[in-house]
């Protein structure tokens, strides 16, 4: 089950260039359990378009995709319950301001579950659970979402999707605009949710340090083509990232600088600060 892309392309009319192709011939499979996937690519590479396909917010112009057994093609099919797909695959948009609208956090988080015909009590329970899952305590339930800090708003917006209990959670640049500490806290949270609940999580990001440290699978888009799907380390070893307007993780950059300047022979593929330090001690202090 999960999501399977079959030769999916998406084009839309653009006044500047005629038909603009956002993604091209994408073949991809995302399973419903335990995956933790990073989706990277420079601006305009088609990341968001790809994400919107995953819960049938937009339909492919050619090709098809299968989401939990539902076949999605260019034509809207009356038999497919698109709404139920969105319950299975949750998509959190980049700016929490796009979705927060109720006067209390509790009511706002309940909006999602309530759209799927459950009782008020159940929705309340789910709201509370989701809020705790994103690391906010019950005192937030009665607060006005617009008076929260940027990071807190982000969490509430994520809770709003989590309350629908999706199997797959997709987040569009959840860490943008946060300070480094906030970024790390949020990433740890996602990892935690992934481990605790087994939900598959897909995160769109620009931050290669995070990609290297947290993920075991990375998808790279360039001009609408999926050019890489695999382990991050394999990506950094094999592909020329600069060509795709992408950067290398800082550990790799620093260690290869040392190798070049001091003619050392360090293994540059170290994910964390600690690992890099060990490697320097091992290979550099002889």
């Amino acid at each position: 089950m999960g999501i399977r892309f079959n030769q999916v392309s998406y084009e839309y009319p653009s006044f500047a260039e005629g038909l603009y192709s956002a993604i091209r011939n994408i073949n991809l499979e995302i399973t419903e359990k335990n995956e933790f996937i990073a989706l990277v690519g420079h601006t305009g590479s088609g990341k968001s378009t790809l994400a919107k396909h995953m819960n049938a917010l937009i339909f492919p112009t050619s090709g098809s995709l299968e989401i939990y057994g539902n076949i999605i093609t260019a034509k809207r099919n009356r038999k497919v319950k698109y709404n139920s797909i969105r319950k299975k695959v949750g998509l959190v948009f980049q700016f929490p301001e796009y979705q927060l609208f109720e006067e209390t956090v509790e009511k706002d988080i309940m909006f999602g579950p309530m759209n799927f015909k459950i009782t008020q009590e159940e929705a309340k329970k789910k709201a509370k659970e989701a809020l705790n899952l994103v690391g906010l305590d019950d005192s937030y339930l009665s607060r006005n979402p617009y008076n929260l800090s940027g990071g807190e708003k982000k969490r509430v917006s994520i809770a709003g999707i989590l309350a629908m209990d999706p199997d797959i959670l997709i987040l569009d640049e959840p860490t943008s605009g946060l300070d480094p500490a906030g970024r790390r806290v949020l990433m740890n949270l996602f990892q935690d949710i992934n481990k605790k609940t087994g939900k598959t999580i897909v995160i769109i990001t620009h931050d290669m340090d995070l990609v290297y440290q947290y993920f075991n699978r990375v998808l790279v888009l360039n001009d609408g083509n999926l050019i890489f799907d695999g382990e991050p380390e394999k990506l950094f070893r094999s592909e020329d990232l600069i060509k795709y307007h992408l950067d290398y993780p800082n550990t790799i950059k620093v260690l290869s600088h040392l190798n070049k300047e001091l003619h050392l022979n360090l293994n540059i593929y170290q994910k964390t600060l600690e690992e890099a330090l060990e490697e320097i001690k091992r290979g550099g202090l002889l």
Partner: protein
Amino acid sequence: MKSVIIGQYIPGKGLFYRLDPRTKIIAVLLIMIAVFLLESITHLLIGFGIAFMLLIIGRISVIKVIKGLKPIMILLIFTFIFQIILNREGEMIVNHEMYLTLYTALFLVLAFVVWRVLVKFTRFRFTMFFLFVAGVYLILRYVDFGYQLLSPFNFQVYEAGLRMSAFVVIRLLIIITLSTVLTLTTKPTNLTQGLEKLMHPLKKIGFNSEDFALIISISLRYIPTIFDEANKIMLAQASRGADFSEGKLKDKLKQVISLLVPMFIIAFMRSEELANAMESRNFVPGNKRTRINELIFSYRDVIATAFSVLVLALAIVLKVI
């Protein structure tokens, strides 16, 4: 990424594109007044001919103007029909007996169904509409058999009715054609700037046309952005299971609110930031400013203005005589 066309402006080269927007606004106004002064149908037809000639001189595609007429077409048709039916002055020129029988009703329903189905599958919606109206007339006129639902009545057209309806329709056609030419060939920003300059004298009565024009041009600039944003908000709420196509009225209301509240709040934040940005660049409402886009009045504008004044003068002369 996607851009939205604002107004009806279509980039092009012809004569009207090179005219000063002020000239165009004034000329359209003068000719409109002239059209209202004309009283005989021949004069109006000549006026219509002139409007048509202007289209050709300006190398404006007639099809585009007709497309511009579309939204107003229904209004024209109803004006025409009402004038014909209700105006009972002058000589009677048509007097047809009409019937409404059981079969008539049946045929009418049939015609209606056929029309709606055809509209779904073909592109000639207006042609279809005309055919439907003609069909209704023919059915009422000639289907005289079967049980009579109403006693036969007379469809009468009087000379004055026909004249007046033709009059009104041609008048509207001229006016709409002219204003379409104006919006088709003038960028919205230039249009607002033209209006700003023309309304400048109103400053004496406290109306600041420059601020007004700035508000309009900023609104125009943000329409695509807000449109884009509304789309994203809709998708974000759809992601939370808000299905805008289904659901009960009560659910729908909530879904609409879930769209409107973020739109207003984001617009509010946006306007605050925009105001800050403008203030930091030394914008003070009401202060004197120079302008990068100057309107230039050239010999073409003189000719165009002279032409429109001439048309108005001619109309006045015809009226007085």
